[in-house]
Symmetry: C2
Subunit: 211 residues, 2 copies
Amino acid sequence: MMERHSTLREQRRAETQRTIQAHAVRLFTERGYDATAINDVADAAGVSPMTVYRHFPTKEDLVLVDQHRQLIAERIAASSPAQPLVRRIGRALIEAAATLTSGRRTPDLATSEQFLLDRLRLMISTPALRAKHLDNYYALQQAIVDALGDDTTEPDAAFHAHAAASACLATMHTALVRWAEDDGKTDLSTLIAAALAAAFGDDDLTPGADG
Amino acid sequence: MMERHSTLREQRRAETQRTIQAHAVRLFTERGYDATAINDVADAAGVSPMTVYRHFPTKEDLVLVDQHRQLIAERIAASSPAQPLVRRIGRALIEAAATLTSGRRTPDLATSEQFLLDRLRLMISTPALRAKHLDNYYALQQAIVDALGDDTTEPDAAFHAHAAASACLATMHTALVRWAEDDGKTDLSTLIAAALAAAFGDDDLTPGADG
DNA sequence: AACAATTTGGTAGTCACTAACATTGGAGTT
DNA sequence: AACTCCAATGTTAGTGACTACCAAATTGTT
């Protein structure tokens, strides 16, 4: 029994997915999100509408940016529980953004920073997408709370963790908005650090030597 | 030319609106949000589907809780600009919640605390509504930033204001979730104050004598 | 070549939401 | 009271996102 089912199949599937998303983002940017039907995207990508739905369960998913949930959760889990919650979370967000942008200057469209900016702009400017985007933060928030681990010494630990996580994520979102407005000129992790400092005061949020 | 157009007409319209929303929340709670069609709501309320759409532009609006944007904005605008941003915002949120719940123990369904809790629970448990709910915060965030006023001494004042506002609102949301989970047993403003303290440290957030 | 599994296409249907038009019933006027 | 005006409602037909179901094509394996 093979586990590595296929390579060609996966390649084609991934390419189809990229093609669909690329055309979708292009059309959304050109004509607007609401003015572009899934059928238009399918026609432009040269596939049937059904195929679009198979690759992207909803129209919104054609634009969504994954938030590196895994990477952030890992960094938080690896951080010292002795530190304040917002510092543990804030540092993870800053570091995740740093690795994100550092590896994104590739010629490949799917991972290019420009493509990321295009999707981010769409998400910010389109109400329907904004709602979904924010909803996505909810899942990330839960992942952060889980990664923080259970602090059994504090009775309201979970409540505090949720509060800190949502506050940090909302602050990061502000930085993302600014980043998109500036067309990516300013470094994203720097912006996130600045936003966190503005919201929470001058905590030592720079991702230096971790305790 | 009359300005006080009518009383009976407005009464009927308001009553129709309340009836529709009451049946909607009831059906959503009983059968689930997605499993309930607008037609079902219309039938239950004894009106046509069109009437539902005229009173509530979207299905989500049947559940949405307004966040007392005006009240919060007024309190922030009245606060002293010398204080830290999160304290100005946090106090306004706490005080708004206090006035909200204090006046909500009326027998009237539309303003009853139970009805508010029902809608809140729906919003939290239903993904589609969660997204819209969070999107609503975005508008409130903008109102808060506007109410804070322009701090011309700081170059990144607007950015800092957005960061602080979104962080505070996200924290308040955490408190709302807890409040709904506890079925309103704990005082809402107390919960919000606790969440803010957890996220931002022990700032003096109690709405005592304002500076 | 033959078979199994995965991907894709087509059809029909549900549901949220909109636009255009007809109808009803209060509100103010004569 | 009769009449006009206007807001509220109803009706119909349509668009578009999304799903369920079935058929066809393509790929990996025997």
